[in-house]
C-alpha cells in the first residue's frame, strides 16, 4: 500500500459507491433493484469504514481493529436485511399471482386452524 | 540456483498471464455462451496451473506449496462444475428459443 494515495483512491471509490447506491435507491422503480442498490450503498459505507480503519493503523496492526469489527457486524446485519426484504418481495409475488381474496381467506383459515 | 528458479517463475507466470488474457479476449469476443465458456475454462485452468507452477519454487515451506496446489485443485473443481451448469442452462434456453420459433 503506497500510503495516502491508495487511501484516497479507496476513499473516492467508497464515496462513489455510496452515490451510485443512493441514486439507485431513489430512481429505481422495482423493489428488487432497490434492494440491490441498498447493498451497493452499504458496500460503499463499509469501504469508507475500511479507509478510516486503515488510517488508524498503529501498534503494529495494519488497521484500527474497532472499525474493522464494526464492518463485520455491519455485513451480517446487511445480509439479514437483504434476506428479509427478498422474502417479503417473493411472498408479495406469490400473493399477487393468485386470486388475492381467496388466498387471504385460506391463510386466515390456516392460521385459525393451527392456533 | 535462485536465478534459475526466478527464471522458471517468470516464464511460467508470464505464460499463465497470456492464457488468462486469451481467455478474457475469448469471453469478450466469442459469439455465444458455449464458445465463451470454452475459452474461459480452458484458458483459465491452464493459466492458473502455469501460475501455480511458477510460484511453487518461491514457496517458503512445503505446506505453502501444498496450499497452492490445493487452491488450484479447488478452482478446477469449482470452475468445471460451474461451467457445466452454465452450459446446461445455455443449452436449455437455446432449445426453448427454438421451440418458440
Amino acid at each position: 500500500m503506497s500510503g495516502s494515495f491508495s487511501l484516497s483512491v479507496f476513499g473516492l471509490a467508497g464515496a462513489g459507491l455510496v452515490a451510485i447506491g443512493l441514486f439507485g435507491l431513489i430512481v429505481q422503480g422495482a423493489a428488487f433493484r432497490k434492494i440491490l442498490a441498498f447493498n451497493l450503498l452499504g458496500g460503499g459505507i463499509f469501504l469508507l469504514m475500511g479507509v478510516i480503519a486503515r488510517r488508524g493503523a498503529a501498534a503494529g496492526f495494519g488497521g484500527d481493529p474497532v472499525p474493522q469489527a464494526l464492518v463485520i457486524t455491519g455485513i451480517v446485519v446487511a445480509f439479514s436485511a437483504t434476506a428479509l426484504a427478498v422474502a417479503l418481495l417473493l411472498r408479495l409475488q406469490d400473493a399477487g399471482e393468485q386470486n388475492s381474496a381467496a388466498v387471504d381467506d385460506r391463510d386466515r383459515a390456516a392460521r385459525q386452524g393451527d392456533a | 540456483m535462485s536465478l534459475l528458479t526466478d527464471l522458471v517463475t517468470i516464464t511460467c507466470v508470464l505464460a499463465g498471464v497470456v492464457f488468462f488474457l486469451a481467455g478474457t479476449l475469448g469471453l469478450l469476443r466469442f459469439p455465444d455462451t458455449l464458445t465463451r465458456l470454452h475459452a474461459l475454462t480452458k484458458a483459465d485452468n491452464v493459466g492458473l496451473a502455469l501460475i501455480v507452477l511458477g510460484l511453487l519454487p518461491q514457496a517458503g515451506t512445503f505446506l505453502d506449496a501444498l496450499k497452492m496446489v490445493a487452491i488450484w485443485l479447488l478452482v478446477q473443481l469449482a470452475s468445471g462444475a460451474v461451467a457445466q451448469l452454465l452450459a446446461e442452462v445455455a443449452l436449455r434456453s437455446a432449445h426453448a428459443a427454438e421451440a418458440k420459433e
Partner: protein
C-alpha cells in the same frame, strides 16, 4: 484479562438492571422457540410481567437516587468498550414503553370465548424483540450499538405490519422496510464519519470532543445531516411520511398500537440525543429551525390528510404523522443551543407530548381495531349509532382524541400549552400559530368520528362480539393519557436527571 484496570469506569450499583431490561425479553425467545406453539403466548405474558418489574426497578432507583444509572459492559470502558446509561428522559421512555407493551400484550391475549382470534406465535416473539430493541435504543450510549438496536427494531416491526399475509399489507411492509433500511444506512454512514473524525463512538465522549474543538468539523456537519434525514425517514417525518399510513393502518390493531405509539418514537428520541447532546451550540442553533419547519409541515399537511380519510385506521395513521410534527417544534423552543435545554418548559412539553401521544394513540388504534372487529368495516361514513353498540371503545377513542386535540384534561393539553407558552415567551409566533392550527385540525378529524358515532342514528350494525377485556385495556391507556393532564405546568425536574453530567464533566 485485567479487570482491575478496565473496570475503573464506574458502573453504578444496580447498573445491571439496564442489561436485564435489554436481554430479558431476548432470553424469552429461547423457551418460545422450543415450546409448543400454543404455549408461546403464556411465556410471553410471563416475560411481560418480568420485564415490567425490571423497568419499574430502574425507575424507582433513578427516582430515589436522583442520579442516572450507568453500566459498563464487560468492564470495558468507552472508547474501547461500551456503556449503557439511563437518565431521567430515558427512564420516562422506558416506562412509557413498558406500559404500552404490557397493555398491548393484555389486549392481544387470546380470548377464551373466541380462541380463533388468537395472534400467531410470531407476534409474541416479535413483541419481545421489539421491546428489547426499544429498551436498547433508550439506554445505549454507543452510536454503533444504537445502529444495531435500530435494525433489531426494524426486523421486529416490519413483519408486524403483514401478519395477515394479504397482498396489501405485504406491499406496505416492503415499502416500510425499504424506508427503514434507507434510514439506518444513512445513520451508519454518519456513525462511520464521526468515528473517523473523533475516534470514539460513545455519545458523551463525542459530545465533549465536539464542545472542546470549537469550530465544527465538516465530518460532524455531514454526519448530523445524514442522521437527521435517516431518522426522519424512520420516524415518517414529512415529507418522508408516505410509507406510514398504509403500514400503520394495515397492521392488526395490537401491532398498529405498537408501531404508532412506540416504534416511531425511537428515531425521534435519537434525534433529540443527536441534536441536544452531540451537535454543540452553533450547529444546534442552525439546525433547530430546519427541523421545526419540517415539523410544521407535518402538523399542517398530515392533519389535512387525516381530515380527508374515509377509513378510521387511515385517519389515525395520518394523525400520527401529524402529531409527531409537534415534537420537532420542540427543537428551537427548548433552546437546544443553550446551556441547559432540559430545564426549559419546552423540553418538558416535548417529552410530555411524546409520552401522551404514545398512550392516546395506542388506545385509539386498539379502539379502532375493536370497532372494525365489531362492525366488520371501519368506514367512518357508516358509524351512525356506533356509540350504542360499543360505548366503551368510542369513549376510549374520544378520550385519546382529547390529547391529540390538546383539550383538557389530557397530557396532550398540558404538553401543547407548555410548547405554546415557550413559543409566546420567545415571540416565535409562527410556531404558536402552527400549534393552534394543528389543534383545530385534530379537533376536526377526531370530531368527524366521535360526533356521528354518538349523535347520529342508524347505520352501524354489530356483526361480532368484542371482548370487554380488550375494551378495558384501550380505555385504561386512554385514561393514562388523561391523567397525564394533571402534571403541573412547569419544567419537571425528573427529566433533567443525569443530563448535566453528560456534557459537563470532563472524561
Amino acid at each position: 484479562m485485567t479487570p482491575a484496570a478496565s473496570l475503573s469506569s464506574a458502573s453504578s450499583a444496580f447498573g445491571a438492571l439496564l442489561v436485564l431490561a435489554v436481554i430479558v425479553p431476548l432470553c424469552g425467545l429461547v423457551p418460545m422457540l422450543l415450546c409448543a406453539p400454543r404455549r408461546v403466548e403464556q411465556v410471553a405474558l410471563l416475560l411481560l410481567g418480568l420485564g415490567g418489574l425490571i423497568v419499574g426497578a430502574i425507575a424507582v432507583r433513578v427516582a430515589a437516587t436522583g442520579a442516572a444509572l450507568d453500566d459498563v459492559i464487560g468492564g470495558w470502558a468507552p472508547p474501547l468498550g461500551m456503556a449503557l446509561r439511563a437518565d431521567g428522559l430515558s427512564v420516562v421512555m422506558l416506562v412509557m414503553t413498558a406500559v404500552v407493551v404490557v397493555a398491548t400484550g393484555l389486549f392481544a391475549r387470546t380470548d377464551r370465548a373466541a380462541p380463533t382470534s388468537a395472534m400467531p406465535p410470531a407476534f409474541w416473539m416479535l413483541l419481545m424483540g421489539l421491546w428489547s430493541a426499544l429498551n436498547l435504543v433508550f439506554v445505549a450510549q454507543d452510536l454503533f450499538s444504537l445502529y444495531v438496536a435500530l435494525e433489531l427494531l426494524t426486523f421486529a416491526a416490519v413483519p408486524l405490519v403483514c401478519l395477515d399475509g394479504s397482498r396489501k399489507t405485504l406491499d406496505a411492509a416492503l415499502r416500510y422496510l425499504l424506508f427503514a433500511l434507507f434510514g439506518s444506512v444513512l445513520y451508519l454512514l454518519a456513525t462511520a464519519l464521526l468515528y473517523g473524525a473523533y475516534g470514539t463512538l460513545d455519545l458523551p465522549q463525542l459530545a465533549q470532543h465536539v464542545r472542546a474543538s470549537g469550530t465544527p468539523e465538516p465530518a460532524l456537519v455531514l454526519a448530523l445531516a445524514l442522521m437527521s434525514v435517516g431518522m426522519a425517514a424512520k420516524a415518517a417525518l414529512f415529507p418522508l411520511h408516505l410509507w406510514l399510513p398504509p403500514a400503520h393502518a394495515g397492521a392488526p390493531a395490537a401491532a398498529s398500537a405498537l408501531l404508532s405509539a412506540l416504534v416511531i418514537k425511537a428515531p425521534i428520541y435519537l434525534l433529540v440525543r443527536i441534536w441536544c447532546d452531540l451537535a454543540g451550540p452553533p450547529l444546534a442553533a442552525a439546525g433547530a429551525p430546519l427541523l421545526a419547519i419540517m415539523g410544521a409541515g407535518a402538523v399542517w399537511l398530515c392533519g389535512v390528510m387525516a381530515l380527508r380519510q374515509g377509513r378510521l385506521k387511515l385517519l389515525i395513521a395520518y394523525s400520527t404523522a401529524a402529531q409527531i410534527g409537534y415534537l420537532f417544534l420542540m427543537f428551537p423552543l427548548a433552546g437546544i443551543a443553550g446551556a441547559a435545554p432540559w430545564e426549559t418548559i419546552a423540553w418538558t412539553g416535548g417529552a410530555l407530548q411524546l409520552v401522551s401521544h404514545a398512550f392516546s394513540k395506542a388506545a385509539m388504534f386498539m379502539a379502532a381495531g375493536l370497532i372494525a372487529e365489531a362492525l366488520g368495516h371501519d368506514r367512518i361514513a357508516d358509524f351512525g349509532g356506533l356509540g350504542r353498540i360499543l360505548p366503551v371503545s368510542v369513549f376510549a377513542f374520544g378520550l385519546g382524541g382529547l390529547s391529540l386535540m390538546g383539550l383538557p384534561p389530557s397530557g396532550g393539553f398540558v404538553a401543547k400549552v407548555m410548547l405554546l407558552t415557550a413559543a409566546v415567551q420567545q415571540e416565535r409566533w409562527w410556531i404558536a400559530g402552527v400549534i393552534l392550527a394543528g389543534g383545530l385540525l385534530a379537533g376536526g378529524y377526531v370530531l368527524r368520528v366521535v360526533v356521528p358515532a354518538l349523535f347520529r342514528t342508524g347505520g352501524a350494525v354489530a356483526v361480532a362480539q368484542v371482548s370487554p377485556r380488550r375494551q378495558g385495556v384501550a380505555l385504561g391507556l386512554a385514561l393514562v393519557a388523561v391523567v397525564l393532564g394533571f402534571v403541573p405546568l412547569q419544567p419537571i425536574g425528573f427529566l433533567a436527571i443525569g443530563r448535566a453530567a453528560l456534557i459537563g464533566s470532563a472524561p
